[in-house]
Symmetry: C2
């Protein structure tokens, strides 16, 4: 991988005297110090550099080739590289898998050539690589990007979309308010993908934060595992969430877009910060690079020029769970010294009266110093206006004060355009994050609070916690009923074997048998008709709850028997008292492999789904974390006088289900819906196991 980033020599196949073919050479000449070999049979020299007709004509070793010829010509260019012994090739041309079957065929052909000759491919359909600190522009993008100058930094980007990475880089560089390290445009990812690059950048000593824009995650499980083991913050912006979006993703990058809730859930459990727009992604990355070590419980003080903006900041901070601190008495006394007598001092601190008295910069300087010393303050949010006066706040000194106090400071800045730009540039140099909108400052602080710096994990590869041999595939096949969708009874039997608590029930063949069982388990009972292969029992009128008498039982039995028309079987079940319902599931996802789902069920889930996902199998500690990560988590502490959920019992269900699902590779999905909670104890009341089929492979939806 290092060769792509630091090649000693580069051949440019498709170098020319105009457009992209011209720009690649121009960009290389800007800062790249190695040997450059243009290749084009119609030129003898390009921009003063001798040009070769074929790559094999180059008399020296070539570390890397950039190919920029029409797609149809790329396979033969690649063969040339193979003959020349070039082991790293960036294909920057478009017209491959992203445009349909024809392009896909060309791309496949390229991959065959690459595999045979041991070439690693970057692209195709990409903008290549930019290394800002080294001024390496291995790309055909417009040289205007660096005309405004470059601000090197320690945030690196991986972007699937080429044009976007170019436009975005130009946007960021011209503002000079963020420092960038490496920008990797990875396009169709025919060979190298985001996992390879993420691993590289996580090891890269010049990168502190990695931000990724992804349209697909072809190796989602590996990505999640790499992220879970990362010691640097990772920010991901993922396109292709919506239905329509997913369709567009298919036509654009020829890759399927996963179930977004699963993807979001798994990534979040892996410690990834999720973004939802481009500049927000950069603001998140910038924040994590500058203030990576705040906690979600940090206590925030606000210095403002406007009481109103202070109030609004409180609103937003509290919405994100932050603690608007009470200033200590000594802080209030000290602040009192710079305020007019009539002004009561409290957090948020409205500095305006002090500014009138002390002058603007002096008031800020003094107030910031005082508040930073307050033991009740962890983070200081400063509201500032620039451009209405001449004095300048000494940001360098401010940053030093902040660091020596072991605290974090961030700015909301408004004011005249040119003045605010200069302020932002200076703040960027000093490492102080500045935001143009309050909500953005707060959401970035919140992301920084969520980021937990980890030690890194030992093994990226799955350590399966189940002794697979115990449950041989043969045994499983033997158990199978032949149906792809197991009925409730069979499903729950298997769950019970894996120590998942299921409700007491019994199959019955006759009414008198049903009456006997009802007598044994006690009224009220539940009667269900099970039809092979059918999951929607309730909608089919095959589920009858709360049967209170023998008479009712008889009626219902006959009703179900009639509906069954000789198929299926009848199940009688204890009626369970229910405080509320949960849903637990297993899904074998195309990209993420075995995953566990947990969430609120029943009526609670009708409002809006509240489910979370994690890779399976999971440890008990991971299961407990998963349980706590639903939005409605506080409901699990009990509401309306109900007992708190016995989380360790639910965690055991998640662990056991994860083991079960992972153990049997034939299982596509398991639904346990509902898991009823009564007096805090969970109990599986209905379940369905669904085996894999060819048809199901691309239809990763839960059947409720």
């Amino acid at each position: 991988m290092d060769t792509f980033f630091h090649p000693a020599s580069i051949a440019v196949v498709g170098a020319s005297d105009r457009r992209g073919g011209y720009q690649i050479i121009k960009n290389l000449l800007y800062g790249y110090g190695g040997a450059i070999y243009p290749v084009n049979p119609f030129h003898t020299e390009i921009q003063g550099i001798p040009c070769f007709s074929y790559i094999e004509d180059i008399p020296c070793d070539v570390d890397m080739a950039i190919i920029f010829v029409p797609a149809a010509l790329v396979p033969s260019a690649l063969e040339g590289c193979a003959r020349k012994g070039v082991s790293r090739v960036m294909i920057q041309s478009a017209g491959f898998a992203e445009v349909g079957d024809e392009g896909k065929t060309i791309q496949d052909r390229c991959m065959v050539i690459a595999k045979e000759s041991g070439i690693r491919i970057w692209g195709p359909n990409c903008m290549g690589l930019v290394d800002v600190p080294r001024r390496h522009f291995f790309t055909f993008m417009s040289p205007r990007i660096y005309e405004d100058g470059l601000i090197p930094g320690r945030i690196s980007l991986i972007a699937q979309s080429g044009m976007l990475s170019a436009a975005f880089l130009a946007d960021l560089m011209s503002r000079k308010t963020i420092g960038i390290g490496k920008v990797c445009s990875i396009g169709n990812k025919a060979d190298l993908d985001e996992c390879d690059l993420l691993e590289y950048l996580l090891e890269d000593t010049e990168t502190d934060v990695v931000a990724l824009y992804l349209e697909s995650t072809s190796r989602g499980r590996l990505f999640a595992k790499i992220a879970a083991g990362a010691t640097k913050p990772i920010v991901v912006l993922k396109g292709g969430r919506s239905k329509k979006g997913a369709r567009a993703a298919m036509s654009h990058t020829s890759s399927l877009s996963g179930n977004s809730r699963l993807l979001d859930g798994v990534l979040q459990m892996s410690g990834v910060i999720l973004a939802n727009d481009f500049h927000q992604m950069i603001d998140l990355a910038r924040t994590l690079a500058m203030i990576p070590d705040v906690t979600p419980a940090c206590r925030v003080a606000i210095l403002t020029f406007s009481g109103g903006a202070g109030i609004l900041s409180c609103d937003l901070l509290e919405k994100h769970g932050f603690n608007i601190t009470q200033l200590s008495e000594s802080t209030k006394r000290a602040l009192g010294g710079i305020f007019p007598d009539w002004m009561p001092v409290a957090n948020p601190v409205d500095l305006y009266p002090a500014m009138e008295l002390q002058g603007r910069v002096s008031a800020y300087d003094k107030a910031i110093s005082i508040v930073l010393e307050d033991p009740n303050v962890d983070v200081l949010l400063v509201h500032y206006v620039e451009g209405l006066a001449d004095e300048i706040l000494d940001l360098n000194a401010l940053k030093k004060k902040t660091d020596s106090a072991g605290k974090a400071v961030l700015f909301w800045l408004i004011g005249r355009r040119e003045s605010t730009r200069l302020f932002r540039c200076e703040a960027q140099r000093c490492g102080i994050p500045v935001y143009g909108e309050i909500f953005r400052a707060v959401e970035c602080l919140s992301a920084a609070g969520r980021f937990q710096r980890r030690e890194g994990v030992e093994d990226i590869i799955d350590g399966n916690t189940v002794p697979l041999s115990e449950y041989s595939q043969k045994e499983f096949a033997f158990r199978s009923t032949g149906e792809r969708i197991w009925d409730e009874y069979d499903s729950k039997r298997l769950l019970a074997e894996w120590h998942i608590p299921v409700v007491e029930d019994k199959l019955v063949d006759t009414l008198s048998e049903a009456e006997k069982v009802a007598g044994d388990i006690g009224f009220p009972v539940v009667l269900k008709g099970l039809i092979p292969g059918q999951v929607h029992k309730t909608e089919s009128g095959l589920v009858h709850l709360g049967i209170a008498t023998r008479m009712e039982l008889k009626d219902t039995y006959q009703k179900i028997q009639k509906k069954l028309e000789g198929r299926g079987r009848i199940l009688i079940q204890r009626q369970v008292e229910t405080d509320y319902e949960l849903i637990v599931g297993f899904i074998r996802d195309d990209q993420f492999g075995p995953c566990i789902m947990f969430g609120l069920g029943g009526v609670l889930s009708e409002f809006q789904p509240d489910v979370v996902f994690a890779l399976a199998p999971l440890k008990e500690s991971e299961a407990l974390e998963l349980i706590s990560s639903i939005r409605g988590s506080r409901l699990l502490q009990g509401f309306r006088g109900m007992a708190p959920l016995k989380r360790e019992f639910v965690a055991q269900i998640l662990v056991n289900l994860g083991n079960l699902g992972t153990a049997y590779s034939q299982i596509q999905q398991v639904d346990i819906n509902p898991v009823v909670v009564n007096a805090g104890f969970p109990l599986a009341v209905d379940a369905a196991i669904i085996l894999k089929s060819v048809k199901l492979r691309h239809e990763n939806k839960f059947h409720a």
Copy 2:
């Protein structure tokens, strides 16, 4: 009011040769054409204008005075104005109610003087008034605000916070990407408030959109009524939502901050667009000024330079309920003509391959023209990069094309800083909205979709729908039990009289009576102990549901009897079958007066409250609109095979409760919780009526 905006002469009491007192005169000289009279006993002239010692010394009529002297001197300055016969005074000094009791006393004194002399007051503690098109700066803010030049426009602002309006105006003016009409900084609103100014600006022929930043709404009900009658879009950013925020509001603007859910709900029902940050407020206003007539169901097409950004836009648009349109076949054919052959065309349209073929601007020009002609397209979202090439898109021609097609176009723009600024300025001139972030473009489009241009309503004053005489205060007093909190039984009797359906129940004095009633209404039954003045029956163990047998009834009766300890009474009630629960309430709010609340109840509300508010009394059509406006509205269509809600029955409950609560001014709150829904029919199962008390007046919380 017009005198404040167009005075023929202005006296400046507190004009001086430095700071604010200097700046007021300098600002007036910038563009104000009327007579200017500085007043200050220590100067004979200021900036070349003769200065008077006292306002009474001015030999001519004075239309308006601006007072800018320390707070303690303001009352005597005001008396001078009274003697001089000045009828309009802007007090721009600070140090009044916003700083505590002492300042409040001064402010009260000023109001007494004003009332006695018929003076209308603007402020105090404000920045005054700016009229950008007229270059009127009636303010002490820094002249730097207009140093970058002014962009006149038709968006007017009302801001409670003074410094913020100055800083913000400087910010907006220096960017030159928005045109502003009037900016009114209203400060403490001792006399003139947001209602007065909103009414004025809604009539102002130079204003198309009004944006307000408010920290309090002292006449909320009137504000909501004015908004409901407005024919122009109104955007409101409200500070002081959170608990801490509300506390800060008290110390800052000496006004209480209302229950934010009620405020948000009532304003939204009045057609107000709510903002949550400063720049967002402006973006919303800008959008509504430029594209006010889109619908929530509009069909959107996307032109992009990056498939990835197109996908992300789809995601965001779909999240806001927009329809990503299918392009017509003829559009696809026409677009095919500018694309390379290999490129399939669909919405979002990834223009990059066409740009390679046609050149950037030509590709955009052609594609925009083609898509605007598509009958399936209402709104076009264009992604654009500026600064990587020299050609310029003709925005003026584009806007003409858009208008003649009767459609709307908006841009997401990234690129090099200076180039994007020029683009934005040009777009502003042409009336095309441009955004720096996709989510912002989408949320603004969504707001524009929500805005319904109305005809205006006839009467701003409450048209009470109840013949009040029917229910005399005397009769009510007679009914009253003497308790401030009526028990469930009494409460429901009153509701029943107002035709609100309540569950069948009966008070019982003895166990045998209870047994008889249970026999009549049939098991299972509910038994409740009612204690005078107590609302939390369930938590006190006084509610027992599902009593199935005489034996159980006896046990429970004795249990409750023991708990009551001789107080209160026992109520027996039919056990109601429940599909789900609603909550309905009435509240007499300090700022908004009688209001109705409607929302999801029971377990559905545990997850996160989903309640909406409207002014009471309401018409049936308003009640139906309120019912539809909860977030979980689709649940009311029925879920899990349940019948759809009979909305007209619920609407009747809301109308009747509104009439009841409005009729009896003694009533502070009514809770009907729950309203049980079974087979679509609503039934009040528990209720509490709470009368006013001194203590309750500032504690507008519902007791669940």
